[in-house]
């Protein structure tokens, strides 16, 4: 079995609903590709653009860890747990949906586009009590370093979730190199380029490309362009 998988940006599923333009790295809704079901516990990676003032009406989720990372603009989140909050670029939102939660997500601004990543993980525990959390992340702190956004540790940097998964983001100068090693034995690592270009262990990756490595040792990352931004998801391979 190959130990890497490359998901080029232009091979993703696509749905244009007018108010929502979404690219799906993995099978989702009406996009079905049996070769693109998941990368371990990483099940959904949607790259969403929401028109001003529009959004997702109240709808349910359960038994999924759902992460939203706004890249531009802001989302207004409401749920039946009593939360009404706005999440902006530089913040991160996590819902452990467990036994079930209803929520809506709207572009918080009537006249600005909102862009965000919507990521779903299979949880490591079923039927947990639903929870909502968000964390403010100082974007300046990811300059030429991999900044932790999420971990399984309730006291860790960023926020936490019910999975042995770690999320990091970095914004690198052209030519800057660093290394990453999986935090847990048996985990794989999935790279998603937010902007610019990189190489990961020699594999060139461009904006919105995804690259999964199932037997990661030391992973060498180099930015090929200025202010190149990368998301690194360290994730159990079996869920």
């Amino acid at each position: 079995m190959a130990n890497t998988i490359l998901h080029k940006a232009d091979t993703r599923g696509h749905a244009d609903h007018g108010w929502l333009d979404s690219h799906h790295t993995f099978s989702f809704a009406n996009y079905y590709n049996p070769e693109r079901m998941q990368f371990g516990a990483l099940r959904v990676l949607n790259d969403d653009v929401v028109a001003g003032g529009r959004g997702f009406d109240s709808h349910p989720h359960d038994n999924m860890e759902i992460i939203s990372i706004p890249l531009e603009g802001a989302l207004e989140h409401k749920d039946n747990l009593g939360n009404t909050v706005v999440t902006e670029a530089g913040e991160i939102q996590v819902m452990s949906t467990g036994t079930g939660v209803f929520h809506s997500e709207y572009n918080a601004y009537p006249d600005k586009t909102a862009r965000f990543l919507q990521i779903w993980l299979f949880p490591n525990q079923l039927n947990v009590t639903p929870r909502y959390d968000q964390a403010k992340i100082n974007i300046a702190d990811r300059k030429n370093t991999l900044q932790q956004l999420i971990s399984p540790d309730k006291n860790g940097e960023g926020t936490w979730l019910y999975q042995d998964a770690w999320f990091h983001m970095g914004r690198f100068d052209k030519g800057f190199s660093t290394a990453y090693t999986a935090k847990k034995q048996g985990n794989g690592v999935y790279f998603f380029v937010i902007s610019g270009s990189f190489t990961v262990n020699g594999q060139e990756l461009n904006a919105r490309d995804g690259y999964g490595i199932t037997d990661p040792g030391q992973l060498n990352i180099t930015a090929l362009t200025e202010n190149a931004e990368l998301l690194v998801i360290d994730i159990p391979l079996f869920s």
């Binding site: 099940r43 038994n63 999924m64 949906t97 079930g100 299979f122 079923l126």
Partner: protein, 103 residues
């Protein structure tokens, strides 16, 4: 059983979500679904109707999953019994298509 239609039984403990599931399972023309919140209701429906797929939704415990799966497979060999994740439409169609292809 109508071979043109896929008969789906969903069992979960969250009544509001199962109301949504009832609608989702009956939206595609070739699906016919029943969403229930108790094992008793599921077993009664199973006795009356032939199902192709059983989806175990949120709130069903691992022990209940084992017992239900055993019952359904004992009485209907070939039936697909699987966990449903996500609670809505995002993964539902994919889960069913994939399960049918890999039965």
């Amino acid at each position: 059983m109508d071979t043109q239609q896929l008969h789906i039984l969903a069992i979960g403990r969250n009544a509001e979500i199962m109301t949504v599931m009832q609608r989702l399972l009956n939206t595609p023309e070739n699906w016919k679904g029943l969403a229930v919140t108790t094992d008793e209701a599921a077993l009664a429906a199973f006795d009356k109707e032939a199902f192709d797929i059983v989806l175990l939704c949120a709130g069903v415990t691992p022990d209940e999953e084992v017992a239900l799966t055993s019952h359904f497979r004992q009485h209907s060999p070939g039936i697909i019994v699987k966990r449903h994740f996500g609670g809505g439409s995002g993964l539902l169609k994919n889960e069913i298509l994939y399960a049918l292809e890999h039965r």
